[in-house]
Amino acid sequence: MIETTLEEALAPIADGCMLVVPREVAGVPMAATRALIRRGVKNLHLIALPTSSLQADILIGAGCVATLETSAVSLGELGPAPRFNAAITGGTIVMKDATCPALHAALQAAEKGVPFMPLRGLIGSDVLKYRDDWKVIDSPFGNDDPIVLLPALKPDVALLHAPMADRFGNVWIGRQRELVTMAHAATRTIATVEKIVDNDLLADPLTAAGTLPGFYVETVAVAERGAWPLPLPDHYAADAEHLALYAKMAATAEGFTDYLDRYVHEKRAA
């Protein structure tokens, strides 16, 4: 059976795992993130597609991340992501700066089983300068026309949170189609969902249109309000008060430790 407990569902995320997670509007698996911190996962190569906020900050602060690959991390209106910034200026994580469409394209390369994808732009950017895994070629279809090639990005695990799944492991993701690309690109996909429904999501053309087929899904776990304190668009808003509290507490290493004690380890999060 695909459906399991949250802790069991996360078992494939081993130390050193290359893990891809989505941006806020696509449903961030925060309950799963807290469970990973409680389990003490280490040395993640975290790919935030294409940006992150609380999730990357808390994983970095908790010492779970060795390498971060993304286009931006911030707390939005609440300002900089404090643990991310401290890790960068302190040199405690390896940062692979990207640009949003490059991460989308590199995952699409893995989705399509090709070794690379081309992308316009980037020439003359220091983002490119510091990415020795990206290459520039003269386009064979142009005339002195340099273009960047991005190697395929094939994560070990894609972790996502969605409104619902059925008993066949089909996960309804709606418009958030980067979740489909993540699942296609990754070796394994783990989904947390708000609820399990009894009908077959693929049986009705209306729900099928927004469904990630269970064929790609390794495990599903129910996590009610599993994006909290971040929003699950169309379902619930962000918990602005809690996020402000996080921004305040995480501003210092000590305050962040207190935050983990209160809201992650003690499970007082709900």
């Binding site: 940006t51 931006a72 640009t99 949003c100 980037l122 950017s125 189609r177 980067e178």
Partner: protein, 248 residues
Amino acid sequence: MRDEELLADVITRLIGDVRHVAVGNASPIPATAALLARARGRLQGVGRPYVSLLGSAKHTFWTDGGRELFDCAGQGRIDVFFLSGGQIDGHGNINLVEIGPHDHPKVRFPGSFGSAYLYFVVPKVILFRTEHSRRTLVPQVDFISAPGASDPNVFRTGGPIALVTNRCLFSFKDGRFTLDSVHPGHTVEEVIEHTGFDFDRPKDVPTTAAPSAETLALMRGDVARELAGVYPHFARQVFGVAADAFAK
């Protein structure tokens, strides 16, 4: 007239007559400008521009995931976009990454987002930074998230056309900024004093035109009401519009 109203009016003029304006997250003044352009288009019966306010599912049409914004730009279907920078230099380069040496940065910004791509493929990129100081407007950025100009052989269908600050409006052409106008209450000397980069200017620099009465009425009416659904705090603070009365 509030500063936000002046800046939005300036930006609306820069937007001009285009098909599609996209505005990033946390950009209430550019959003005001885009909605103003749309409200004018409606009044004139042209039915454009199409306005996408990112981060608000209600105000975007995307149904193909996070890549659609970038694909759309790559198709040439986004005419105007807005970018900013922790640093912006006189070559139009923007820095969204870090200050200090790359090995040991002193300050870290969030990151480049889509700038390293969109700056190349959106025909009119409007740079917007309200803090006009030698800290933000520098001779040379420490990290080039996206370059202001490219060699002629580099594929580039877009780039910066202007920089709007709290003090003035610069236009951008051929790799350099020109001071186009100084906002009411500010001076050329003040702009020179607070700008870290060299720029061109005409002998007589005009004062930025204030919004017309019609524009202000439009902004404070329809535009403010539409804005309240996405930026309730801003709409209340600037236009005195309560979000709850209009947002459904």
